[in-house]
């Protein structure tokens, strides 16, 4: 087990290096002088030159690259081009909000999506199935930000049950959760559509399998056939996809944080993009890459754990 984890971790290193290099180069080819971006067009040539020197962008590209990687190796994400504050601190402050949102959305998606998928599979081509499939298709087509606005309009503006915008910090857990409901529901409902669709199709193929027929022929109760045999096998691909869902949710969280004015990695990234704060942008991308690698690693481990056919050693 430990060997497997170490092997996977080592395999992730070249991928991460490639990602970091692409990010580094992409940010360097961006048009415009970052020093001018900070100081404004009317700054004198000397001030600009001095700031360029201070930012380290007068150095040759390879030296900047080595410094960038060296900093990362020491856990240093650099300083914001605009505010000159350490980017790492800012990211650590907002990261829990994004993780909390993503986690809640997955819980909602599984809690609603798996039962919907199972029921629609069992009632194939019945009214319930059609309803569930229409719901899924509409859910798949719903832009996350638009669903967020609809929920905000009905539940916050019209009914005033939940706060429309903002977030509460973690020292007030109840208030924090109250603010979390609408953003989490937005992402969770869209996730529900994906998970329901996926569960339905896996369930349909499992129900047609021989061992399900055998279990029925043995005279097992229908409930234990469904839960003990069919659902258990159907869950393997669904669980393995949770990682992929989590990654796509981290993408959509950018929009939801924007709609509900919630602090988070996505909101930070949008702010950095608009201010042309390229060092912050670069560090956020590094953090995204790390999160994605960790999620992939976890998925891989869970997968080998739940699928008996894949036990290593």
């Amino acid at each position: 087990m430990l060997r497997h984890i170490v092997r996977r971790l080592l395999l992730a290193i070249p991928t991460l290096l490639a990602v970091f290099t692409i990010i580094f180069l992409l940010v360097r080819v961006a048009p415009g002088d970052p020093a001018v971006a900070v100081l404004g067009d009317r700054a004198s040539a000397e001030t600009v030159a001095a700031l360029r020197e201070k930012m380290g962008i007068n150095e040759p590209l390879w030296k900047q690259y080595v410094d960038f990687l060296g900093g990362l190796a020491q856990g240093d994400l650099g300083r914001s081009l605009i505010s000159q504050k350490p980017v790492g601190e800012q990211i650590l402050f907002v990261l829990p909000y994004t993780l909390e949102l993503t986690f809640a959305a997955i819980v909602i998606g599984l809690a609603l999506g798996v039962p919907t998928g199972v029921i629609t599979a069992l009632r194939r081509n019945k009214p319930v199935d059609y309803l569930g499939r229409i719901f899924s298709l509409v859910g798949l087509s719903f832009p996350a930000f638009y669903l967020g606005i609809l929920l905000m309009f009905f539940l916050a503006v019209k009914l005033n049950v939940f706060p429309a915008v903002g977030a509460a910090d973690f020292s007030q857990p109840l208030k924090n959760l109250h603010y979390l409901v609408l953003p989490a529901l937005t992402l969770g409902l869209i996730e529900t559509a994906y998970i329901a669709r996926m569960t339905r199709s896996v369930m349909l193929s499992v129900l047609a399998d021989d061992y399900v027929r055998t279990a029925r022929a043995k005279g097992l109760k229908e409930s234990s056939v469904l839960i003990g045999h069919a659902l258990r096998a159907a869950m393997i691909p669904v669980v393995s996809l949770i990682g992929i869902f989590a990654i796509s949710l981290i993408g959509s969280s950018v929009l939801v944080e924007e709609v509900f004015a919630r602090p988070g990695l996505g909101k930070l990234m949008v702010g950095a993009t608009k201010q042309k704060d390229y060092t912050t942008l670069q560090s956020i991308m590094v953090v995204y890459a790390l999160i994605i690698v960790i999620i992939n690693l976890l998925t891989d481990l869970v997968y080998t754990f739940i699928d008996p056919r894949l036990r290593y050693d």
Binding site: V27, A144, Y146, L255, A289, V293
Partner: protein, 303 residues
């Protein structure tokens, strides 16, 4: 009697198998028939046609000039003259929604054509050539695939700056690695088939093998993927415009309108909700068609 004679005429095109009763129907014809019998897919096609017509004839269909401002009448709720109301600069929201279809379709179609062509080329070349080219191309593809589409799009747009074609390029770049993946797998299997080997042995050039033998065999998968990704590209464009990046003002885009309308949700709800409905219907239409293609081309769904 007349009826009995009329029946074979309906099936005149497919030839009959001399040893059995089953008519032989070409694969393409069978897929097409299965597609046109799929009610939801047909609804999707009709919706897309309607949206395309509205976009092309926007100057005729739209009741007002989408850019004409009238600050005195700003933020008017819906009325007979302005069914969706007026926005924060006194522009007719309905007309802006209609013109917004132009940007949505342009970005959706061009980014998929561009990204799809580039990605497919990468995928089939990697799968056919193999070796170092293969590992380099697919490594790069995997790195690009690691990030959610929105984040890649956001980063590329941050570097490129605003503009319609930059938006198209940004979305095409997020789409290309996905097409590369889809094209790569089947190419690997097809490249090892006897008929490809045979073609090569009689001296057919690689370029011709790729376009004549490999591409037609993965065209079905690509078609399904292209329609589903057009839906996603339109959603991505709206998302990036919603964030405030992309096509510069005052060109009406659905995402930008939804963003502007959020603050006026209580006064003119349709300012945000109107373009949102247009966006939702458009994305849904392309998804319906993509699903229809998939069902029609999937050998497992045959009845």
């Amino acid at each position: 009697m007349a009826q009995a004679q009329a029946r074979p005429a309906a099936h005149a095109t497919p030839t009959r198998d001399p040893f059995g009763a089953k008519p032989i129907v070409s694969e393409r014809r069978r897929a097409l028939r299965s597609f046109t019998r799929n009610r939801t897919a047909v609804v999707g096609v009709v919706l897309i046609l309607a949206i395309v017509l509205i976009a092309v004839f926007a100057p005729v269909v739209a009741p007002y000039d989408p850019l004409a401002q009238s600050v005195r009448d700003r933020l008017q709720p819906p009325s007979a003259a302005h069914p969706l109301g007026l926005d924060d600069k006194g522009r007719d929201i309905l007309s802006r929604v209609i013109y917004g279809a132009r940007i949505a379709l342009q970005v959706g179609i061009f980014s998929v054509v561009l990204g799809g062509a580039a990605g497919t080329a990468i995928g089939i070349v990697a799968g056919y050539v193999g070796g170092k080219v293969e590992s380099a191309l697919m490594r790069l593809t995997d790195v690009l695939l690691a990030f959610p589409d929105l984040i890649t799009g956001l980063l590329v747009l941050a570097v490129l700056g605003p503009g319609l074609w930059k938006m198209i390029v940004a979305i095409a770049l997020t789409i290309a690695p996905r097409f590369a993946r889809i094209a790569y797998g089947p190419t690997l299997t097809i490249a090892k088939k006897e008929y490809v080997e045979a073609a090569r042995s009689i001296g057919v050039r690689d370029g011709r093998i790729l376009t004549r033998h490999i591409l037609p065999n993965i065209a079905g998968d690509l078609l399904v993927f292209a329609s589903l990704w057009t839906a996603s590209a339109i959603r991505l464009e709206a998302s990036l415009s919603f964030i405030g990046l992309g096509v510069p003002l005052p060109t009406p885009t659905w995402g930008q309108m939804i963003r502007e309308g959020v603050v006026h949700l209580t006064v003119v709800p349709l300012y945000s909700l109107g373009p949102g409905i247009a966006l939702l219907i458009t994305v849904l239409a392309f998804n319906l068609v993509g699903d229809g293609f998939r069902d029609a081309l999937d050998p497992k769904s045959r009845t």
